[in-house]
């Protein structure tokens, strides 16, 4: 057992809760893979037609402009081709999915008002407890709808908006109309078009000028239904000089049939604002996770993506930063863990459109038990810009002879006054390191786990403590029995 390793103790001791150690060694199926009986109040027929889109729009009592937006996106979805690159999507069946399931009549601001099963689900996942202890606000999405949204009163008084997107469409149409679908237009790719046609739920965050949301906001996405598509849409706007850290987590039951999660996340960091967006993706092994995420960073703004991918059957996700204003900075920290039957095709895109902008991409991946981890990325510098700096670093560990690791970066530089660096390394766990640790008394497995922890440590440090612990624990679970 790795859980009792002596070296892990100090780290855990300094993490506050004794419960953190409790669950180590229990499997995904028990901790996250459970499902509740379906008690949705509205559910569309399987498959996707214009009627499905109209039904969703009507259920949400949307304004006409949003219905038109959806229908145009549906046309685009039917028109656009599947990606000809990346992970294998040949088993994805659009006709067998359910595109909308409404779990409750409305969103609540009180956990106690939620139906028993839903409340129980989030209790088991530890969300209400986390809200009390560590978070400034929580949103919880169950299948298609945000069933819960709550933000601390002091932040609400400062004008911070945190709600589901449907509420924002009703209550703040001027902000939504200005940004919605402008960062990621529906014709961006097939899955952005799909999301635009059937989107439901997701978070809307607006932080007024100069306001710093010191503790994170979190959204937790839970899929409960089988052969289900979750299409949340998140829009975050940090007004001038503000700061917000948004975290998302996600899990799903283990079913025999595949599900689809295809989100669109649009982020705007206005001048001098800073946004950090952290993800710990832990979908079940029957989930296709095909997500489009993009941020616009204006003058002197800072955008940071911290992206952890542990779960899912297939993930294709390349968080992007468009550096639109001079002095803007972008950073992407990405970690992927590809185990048995998993394909993690992840990476980052940074496009420099203004002078004196800089970007750093750090990607780490681990593949084992026949899993495939791929880094796919783009750095582009337009002509005529000065003072551009970009650095991309990809490290990959392969833990057995049957696993695969790929690296596919693209650097497209058109400016003389730019400095672009890219490095990538692929290797196995070094025998010297194993030998050293084993000579200090560790078993081979303990030594391997320790090396993997060391490998991902620079990323884990960037996550809030609770997530760092979660990620470490997940890695330990995944690593169990990996050596010898």
């Amino acid at each position: 057992m790795v859980s009792g390793a002596w070296w892990a103790e100090p780290r855990r001791r300094c993490m506050s809760a004794d419960t953190l150690v409790r669950d180590i060694g229990t499997a995904y199926g028990e901790r996250f893979g459970f499902s509740m009986p379906d008690r949705s109040v509205l559910r569309t027929e399987k498959g996707l037609t214009e009627a499905t889109v109209r039904e969703i729009s009507e259920a949400k009592q949307e304004p006409e402009w949003m219905l038109r937006f959806r229908l145009r996106a549906l046309d685009l979805f039917n028109l656009l081709p599947m990606p000809s690159w990346g992970a294998d999507l040949s088993e994805l069946r659009f006709d067998e999915m359910t595109y909308y399931a409404k779990p409750t009549e409305g969103s609540s601001q009180n956990w106690d008002e939620l139906p028993e099963e839903i409340k129980d689900t989030y209790e088991r996942l530890g969300i209400p407890e986390a809200e009390r202890k560590f978070l400034a606000g929580v949103g919880a999405q169950y299948d298609s709808e945000m069933v819960y949204h709550h933000i601390r009163e002091d932040l609400e008084k400062k004008g911070v908006l945190f709600s589901d997107v449907e509420t924002a469409v009703r209550e703040h149409p001027e902000i939504v109309k200005r940004f919605f679908g402008t960062i990621i237009p529906p014709d961006d790719n097939k899955f952005a078009a799909l999301n635009s046609a059937v989107w439901s739920g997701g978070s809307f965050v607006y932080v007024p000028p100069g306001v710093h949301v010191e503790i994170p906001l979190q959204a937790y996405f839970r899929v409960n239904s089988q052969s289900f598509g979750q299409f949340e849409r998140t829009l975050i706007i940090a007004d001038e000089g503000s700061f917000v850290h948004y975290i998302e987590g996600c899990t799903a039951p283990v079913f025999s049939k595949d599900s689809l999660h295809s989100a669109v996340v649009e982020i705007v960091a206005l001048a001098n604002a800073r946004i950090r967006y952290s993800t710990v993706q832990n979908w079940s092994s029957n989930m296709y996770n095909l997500v489009t995420k993009r941020a616009f960073a204006y003058e002197n703004a800072v955008m940071e993506w911290v992206d952890g991918n542990i779960g899912s059957k297939v993930t294709m996700k390349y968080p992007a930063i468009f550096l639109m204003g001079p002095g803007a900075r972008g950073e992407v920290l990405s970690i992927a863990f590809a185990g048995k039957g998993q394909e993690q095709d992840t990476g980052a895109k940074v496009l420099h459109f203004a002078s004196n902008t800089s970007s750093v991409v750090t990607s780490k991946s681990i593949s084992k038990d026949g899993g495939t981890a791929s880094y796919r990325g783009l750095v582009k510098v337009e002509a005529g810009l000065t003072g551009i700096k970009s650095k991309v670093e990809c490290d990959a560990l392969i833990l057995d002879p049957h696993s695969k690791s790929n690296t596919y970066p693209v650097m497209d530089i058109r400016s003389e006054n730019a400095s672009m660096e890219h490095e990538a390394r692929v290797s196995k766990i070094s025998e010297e390191q194993l030998f050293y640790l084993m000579s200090r008394g560790l078993t081979e497995e303990e030594a391997a786990v320790m090396i993997v922890h060391g490998f991902i440590d620079p990323l884990v440090k960037e996550l809030p403590m609770e997530y760092a612990v979660e990620l470490n624990r997940l890695i330990e679970l995944e690593m169990e029995g990996s050596v010898g």
């Binding site: 690296t407 970066p409 530089i413």
Partner: protein
Amino acid sequence: MTATLTKATPQRGSLAEAPEFLWTFKAPSGSNRDEGELTHITIPFRGDSGRLQGGAIHLEDHARARVFLQYKPQDPSPGRSYGAMDGETELFRTSLEIHLGPYAQLELFVLSSLPATLTREALDHCTLEEGSRLIWTDVGFDAGKGTYERNIMFTGKESELDFAGAYGAVCDTEGTYILTTRHRGPRTKSRVYLKSALKDSAHLIFKGLIHIEESAAGSDAYLSNRNLVLNDGVRAESLPQLKIETDDVVCSHGSTTGGPREEELFYLTSRGLHTDSAKSLLVEAHLSAVLDRLPEESREEVERRAFDLLGIHEGGACS
């Protein structure tokens, strides 16, 4: 037994896709041309647009050889300029088959310097058997469009490649360099260095794939691509790729693209050099690591050609 170079007369009427080997260089088992003797092979464009001109180099086991290959435009004949009519281009298609038998060693130098009226399409394929070693220095100053695809297959264990390429592109040159090292044999090793300097509105693409198959345990591969951008308006695209199918490997790549560093320019100008001369000197330094590998007798001429082409001059040389 000594190495032989045979030349064939091109056969008219054969399929354009079937490489007709215009020349074949063969080094029999155990032969050694390593004593400084260099075989020069010149491949001129024969004025037959689109026709594939093929060549082959075959070294049998334990053979050693040094070969200098040069792609040239057609010799101008009276009344005919290089290749094409005004504004038109002609297609110069070449292929090169290299086969190194067990423990053979080939030192290969390839120089291509073609006018803008020729569009080049090169498809080269190398097979490296057990313990063989290929040392390839590739220099390209083609002025037109070009696609250069090189596939190097490591079929035998412990075979090695050491590839260094230097490329200069000016005016509206467009070049795509694709280099794939496919490691199949165990404990194979590859080192690939691609360096370029770009000026005016040139556009170069470097796509370098290291593919380690499951059978290639213990392999060690590295690819580096360094592009020096000399003015705004050029375009350098770098796509270094890794495709790794087993764990017991050390594979990495590195890519940098950028203009001359300000500190370096500042240092040189503070020593009395004009900015343009300083830039020219930095181009020279950038490419010299590759050009220094050329045989002594041709190094100076190639260097002069490179720096005439890439040197920073008053006024544009592009018409």
